[in-house]
Each structure stands twice: as C-alpha cells, then as structure tokens.
Amino acid sequence: MTALEELKKLPTRKENPYIKEWKGKGRSIVGFTCHYAPKEIFYAADIFPYRLEARGTRETGLADVYYHRFNCTYSRCILQEGLSGGYAFLDGLCFLNGCEQIRRMYEVWKEHVPTTDYQYMITIPHSIYDEGFEWYKEEVFRFKEDLANNFATRLTKGDLRAGIDVYNESKRLLKELYELRKSDHPPISGAEAMKLIFAADIMPREKYNTLLKEAMKEIRSRDGIKDYKARIMVGGSPLDDTQIIEIIENLGGIVVTDTLCGGSRNFQEFVEVEKDGDPLEAIARCYYYSNPCPRMLNSFDSRCEYTEKMAGEANVDGIILQKIVFCDNHSVECTMIADELEPKGIPVLNLEREHMLTDVGRVRTRIEAFIERISRR
C-alpha cells in the first residue's frame, strides 16, 4: 500500500493499527475534544493525542440517555462512542470549554465512561485579549504540570521544542497540500484531502509526517482534475467524515479548500519560539491568537475576512457552510457570513445537516441546486 493509500484508508478507533502499536509499547493515548487543545504538549510528554471523532457512528441510543434531542448529533455521537467502549483505549481525556455541548460531556464521561482514568478541563476565554491570554496561558501551564504528574514524565523545554517541531512540520506539509489544491487542476479531490487531514489527529504525528511527505510526492505526480463544474469551499460545524464532500464531488463540484477547525484553521499559524523563549508560552500564544472559532466573541470580522481570503486564494465559485442542527455557534455564524459575502458576489449555501448524514436526498438536492447556480459549465 502506498503512503497515500495508507493515510486515506486509516481506520478509526478499534481497527486503527497505530493505537495497538503505541499501546503495545506501554505508551499512553489521551483524547482531546477541541481545536484549542495544545497537542504539542501531549506529544512532548510522549503521549499520543487523539482527536475525538465519531466517524461512522450511526446511532445515539446510549448517548440519548444522558443527552437530549436538543443536543447536536456530533456531541451525541462522540458520547455514544465513549459509552459503547469505542474509546476504551484512551488513558485520559482532555476537555475544553469550546462549546456548551462538548464541555458538559466532561461530567457524563467521568460518571459513565469508567475506562478513562484521567480527565482534565482546559478553559479558554471567549474573546481574544491580552488578559484573556494570560488566563489561557496559565491553564496550559497547569495542564502541562498535571499531565506530567499523572503520566510520570518530565516534560522539559527540549521536549516541548521537539513537539513544536513535529507539529510545525505537519503544518508546513498541510500548507503545501492546500497550495496544490488551489491550482486550476487540483491533483487531489476534496474527499481525499480531507481524509489526509483527518489522519493527522488519529495517528502518531511523526509517523504521519513521514507518510504525508511520501504521499505528497505521489500527489504531485498526478494529473490534475479538470472535469468539474464548480470549485467549492466548505466551512461550518466540525466535520469528521467525508460523506458531505463526496456528495458535493459526485455532483460535479470539487472541494478545494475549507475554513474548518479540523482543516485549514488547524495549520495556518506556526508555533514560533524565540531562541531563549518559553516554548510553552509560544504554544499557548499560537492557539489563543490564531484563527478564532465562532465561539469567540468580538472576532466575527476576522473570521469573515479569513473566509473571504481563503475563498479568493482558492478561486472558489461558491461556499457551502454546513451546520449541524442545534450547533448554536455555527448556525448563527454561517448565517452572518452568508449575509456578508453574498452581497459581495460570493455565493453561499447554508446547509443544515446531522452528524450522521441520514437525509442524503435532501442534502443532495440542495447541493445539486447550488452547483447548478454557480456552475462554470
């Protein structure tokens, strides 16, 4: 199997060979729930950070005992995986107060998912300002101490610098990948690219970098995709499945970029440490100040500018903002962005969906109509 194939086909959770291999060497895996989790610190502590996902989860019966139909299906599917043993391999879990629904999972998980020994909550302010940064920085410092104490590691500055280097390398490679996608004839489909992005957070990062570097050679050698009707950018709620992208691409669109928290927002900024600087502070600074999530107040303009910039750079014909039902942050954000960009001549489709895409017919019809509206041919 080529590196590209391996990354594209990497299974999640129980079937993921890297989990078995890592655990087999007596090493720990700690899950995290949100973009703002400082993954470099996990890595520095020789811990494999695994982003919680619920790819392929098709029902929420167990989760619905504790959560409700008014909770988004993304949070319910993740909880379902926890309750049904899908995350039994985790040695710990780092929550963040990213959104209402995920942060409240902390207590339910603690009470009802006994296989996770270690739980931690990092809290991040809801707006970006210097005193808020000081709060978050202290949270990150405390987390580092707690992680080191619980997993009996030393976590030196050198370890942190090594973690930063590995993650910066991923970011550099992913930027390259996104550059290739900007071309008139992208050598990789949106669905394939998204699979490569998903793989980053569910396998050891050094190994990921090696495979991605290799995969990039293969991608570069391909003929570009020419036969598409419209270039599309995807944004909105967290996405951990390529199903919606496959629908877009099966209908003649090609997804060439995104503003997703697990996607482009994840690698725009590098962690920069001065020669004598504090690597921990540099990590905190990078997460806090870059690419705000819609949960951040007073930063709509910067998110809107980022959306417009990404759309422009990738020369998209339209933007599909998919929002999971009951996701307040993205539901409002998507509407606000559409209100800003449509008058500027950037077509936007606001599409409500569930995490487990069951009403495929409705979604397909909406996307088909949108592609017809913006089609190049």
Partner: protein, 466 residues
C-alpha cells in the same frame, strides 16, 4: 393620567408601562375575578379609553390570577414596578442617556452610576411573553425570518426581533458576560455587528474559586474603563456606592424571603417567581428594592399568621424547579397551588446561594471585588458557568433545606448545556436525597412549543403518581 410615548422605538416599554398603570387601576377596585363584573368584554367597556387597547392584549388568565386575594399584594408590587420603571426609563431616554443592552445575569450598578439607560435584553422578551396573549412571538418570528435558527433562545430572539422591527431604542453598546451559553453569545455578537456598536464582554471564568474571583474583579475594572469611554465620564465612587447599597438592600430581602420559604406551610405564592427573575435584572435600582421589599412584607405577614398559600384541606406538595419555567404562563404556578397544592420553593433562575454576601461598599476596590463575587453568585450564572457539580450541589442543598417533595426540571429548548446535564442532575438529586424528579421540554418564551394546556397535562400526570 401618565404620559405615554407614541414613539415606535418605545413600543415595548410603553406597552409595559401602560400595563403597569392599568393593573394598578384594576387592582385598586374591589374585584376578585373579571367575571365578577361580567367578564373581560364588560370590564373593557368601563375602563378609561387609554387602557382599552392594552387591556385587549393582556392574557385574561393573568388578570384573574392577579386579582385572586392571595396574589393581590404582590400583584400591586409587580404593577408598580413596571409602571415606575417604564416612566423612569423614558425620562432617561428623553434626557438623551445612552442605551446599554445587558445580559440578565449582570447587576447594573456601574451602568446606573455612569448615567446609562440600561435595558436588559432578555427581559424584553420575558416580560412581554409573561403579559400578553401574543407574547414576544412577533420578535421571534422577525429574527427567524432573517434566517437565524429556531433553536436559539427565545429570550434573545424576541429582543433581537424587536431591534429589527424598531420597537426598542437603538443601542450604544451591548454588555455580555461570556457565560452561560453559546446562543446568547452569538445573538449579542450578531446585534453588535448589525448595529455597529461595541460589544463589551465580561469573561466569566469556568471555576468558582479565588483565582476566578480575582480574574472577574479585574474584568469589572476593564469593563468600567470601556464603559467610561462610551459614557464620556469617570465612574464616581459615591454614585456607585449609592446603587450598590440599593442592590444590597434588594438582595437582603431576597435572602430573607428564601429563608422564609423553608417554612412549612410555604408562605410565598408562586405566580410571581418568573417575575422575580425579571426584577433581579434591575438590582441597583429603587424599583427592584421596592419590589423585593413588598414581596418580603407579604411573605412575612403570612409567616406571622401561620398561613400558607394553598386551599384549605389540600396537602402541601413542595416543588423545586431544577431549571426554568415558562415565562409565558405566570398563572400556571397559581393553578399548581390551587389544583394540586403544589408550592414553589426555589429554582435556578432566582436562587441566590445560601452564603450570598453583601457587597462591601467601603471603597472602589471592595465594591468591584463585590460585584465580581456577585456575578459568580447571580442566579443561573453560578450554575451554568461552571462544572455540573455546582448545579447538582445547589439542588441537593435546596432539596434538603426546603424539604422538597419533588424536583420539576423544565428544560428550555435552547439551553443545550442544560440538556447535556439534566439526566445527571436528576440522577444525582434522587441518589443523594431520594427526591423524585420530572423532566420535560418547553420554550420559556414561546408557548407555541409546549402550550399552557400541555404543561398542565404534564403536571396532572405527574401528580397522579404521588
């Protein structure tokens, strides 16, 4: 006769002011039910003309509830409040004072001391839904028509819709604590963006410890700097002290009432409890102080006489409300008392923790530290801003201290944080205290979600299990 503004941007607040005056007028007559004088239509005919249109809008059941003997005294306090607050607000606006829309869990002493005209955004929806047959549905429909989702909080949607319709004054800025929820944060972001005014955020830390308190105190200072810039003046210590003293007086009455509610039989009526939340958003004004003082005197009078509030012969069932209630149906709690003997002990939206402190008014530093502390203790803020443990502990404590027979956990549709907690809350309270719970869905300000009739059926069924 009071002067009523005909300005479009005072539509909502003038409506309230008129309703307050109208309620006072009706309550001053010897009337215990509209039917005593031939029904609503007949009463309308004998009302002064300037009240008639407003009278048509008011929920008939609410009028009859207020006219019930046991409710009259608190009804008068309620009417007095909305009448005098409305008159005061309009005077502030006439003087050209700037409007600050603020979230309902803030106390507003600094806004008052800086001569702003503070309006609680959520109360615009809450009080309107409590008073009128059509509630705040016009506002809700207006914002949803703009493409904003129905699963946002109706307390924010109603007010946002009123802004769009021009029924409330233009803002100078919005003031928002970052807790408790995404839905309110997003609507405030939308409103500040739409109306191109500053959004001042008070970051509410996730913890209930000294580190959080220290941070929040500093947030108060940062907030004041921003407010001073908008106000164009400095905050004066003596002015702030004056408003905090009023606020302390009100909170002291609330604490005393909370103590008295522990008595069996319960000496307090339930109809006004959603209104208590509304007036908590006025802490720092004389209107809130006077309202809670009147409530206290009413409750104390019953305690002194050894009276309860349920009909004779009924066994008292002591309910706590684990979260919200429907603001659109104040008579519901009166109905619970009269039909089921079910009284109202405490809830999340009015409850101050038993160790609530008065704000030390010695100097600016102590006042700001006190405001920070109070923000951590404000009803709903404390439970929602932090780990679920805080919420659970409050209701374990309430269940024990108030000898609660059942915990009704009405869940507001929009509160996703709550729906991720409600089962845990129910389980833990039952495990620690043995108190049974009832969990059900509603929308606090939109009766089209769970209707008053359906709510009554839910309660009938629940009490059938007792």
């Amino acid at each position: 006769m009071a002067e009523y503004s005909d300005r479009k941007d005072r539509t909502i607040t003038t409506r309230w002011q008129t309703t307050g005056d109208l309620a006072k007028f009706i309550l001053s007559h010897d009337l215990n039910h509209l039917d005593d004088w031939g029904g609503k239509e007949a009463v309308r005919e004998i009302l002064p003309e300037h009240f008639q249109k407003n009278f048509d809008m008011i929920q008939t059941d609410l009028i009859n509830c207020l006219l019930e003997e046991k409710n009259k005294q608190t009804a008068m306090a309620f009417a007095d409040n909305i009448s005098s607050w409305g008159e005061w607000l309009h005077a502030q606006l006439d003087e050209g004072k700037k409007v600050v829309y603020h979230y309902f869990i803030h106390t507003i002493e600094p806004l008052l001391a800086l001569d702003f005209a503070p309006i609680c955004f959520e109360i615009l929806s809450g009080l309107t839904s409590a008073l009128y047959t059509d509630g705040c549905e016009e506002g809700i429909d207006a914002i949803e028509a703009e493409g904003y989702p129905d699963h946002l909080c109706s307390s924010n949607k109603g007010a946002a819709g009123y802004l769009l319709k021009g029924y409330i004054p233009q803002p100078s800025c919005f003031l928002k604590g970052s807790a408790p929820c995404d839905t309110s944060n997003r609507i405030y972001e939308w409103a500040a963006h739409k109306y191109k005014v500053p959004l001042i955020v008070i970051e509410a830390p996730y913890y209930m410890n000294e580190r959080a308190h220290k941070f929040l105190t500093e947030e108060m200072k940062r907030m004041i700097v921003k407010l001073e810039k908008i106000a164009g003046k400095k905050l004066e210590q003596d002015k702030l002290r004056y408003y905090i003293q009023l606020s302390n007086e009100a909170v002291d009455y609330v604490a005393k009432i909370q103590e008295l509610r522990k008595i069996v039989p319960c000496p307090d009526t339930g109809w006004h409890r959603p209104a208590d939340t509304i007036f908590t958003a006025q802490l720092g004004t004389p209107f809130a102080r006077d309202y809670f003082k009147a409530l206290y005197e009413n409750v104390k009078e019953r305690v002194d006489k050894g009276q309860g509030v349920i009909p004779e012969g009924k066994k008292e069932k002591r309910l706590a409300w684990g979260y919200t209630w429907e603001a659109f149906d104040l008579p519901f709690f009166n109905w619970l008392e009269n039909k089921h003997g079910a009284i109202y002990t405490e809830d999340t939206l009015t409850y101050f923790p038993m160790d609530t402190e008065m704000i030390d008014t010695t100097n600016m530093e102590t006042m700001l530290a006190g405001l920070g502390r109070r923000m951590m203790q404000m009803p709903m803020a404390r439970q929602v801003m932090s780990f679920s443990d805080v919420w659970i502990k409050d209701f374990v404590d309430i269940s024990r201290a108030y000898k609660v027979d059942a915990l009704a956990i009405g869940g507001h549709m929009a509160c996703k944080h709550f729906w991720a907690l409600n089962k845990l809350l129910s389980d833990k309270v039952k495990e620690k205290t043995g108190v049974p719970t009832l969990r059900f869905e509603m929308d606090m300000m939109d009766k089209r979600f769970t209707s008053p009739a359906e709510l009554r059926r839910i309660m009938d069924d629940f009490f059938a299990t007792f």
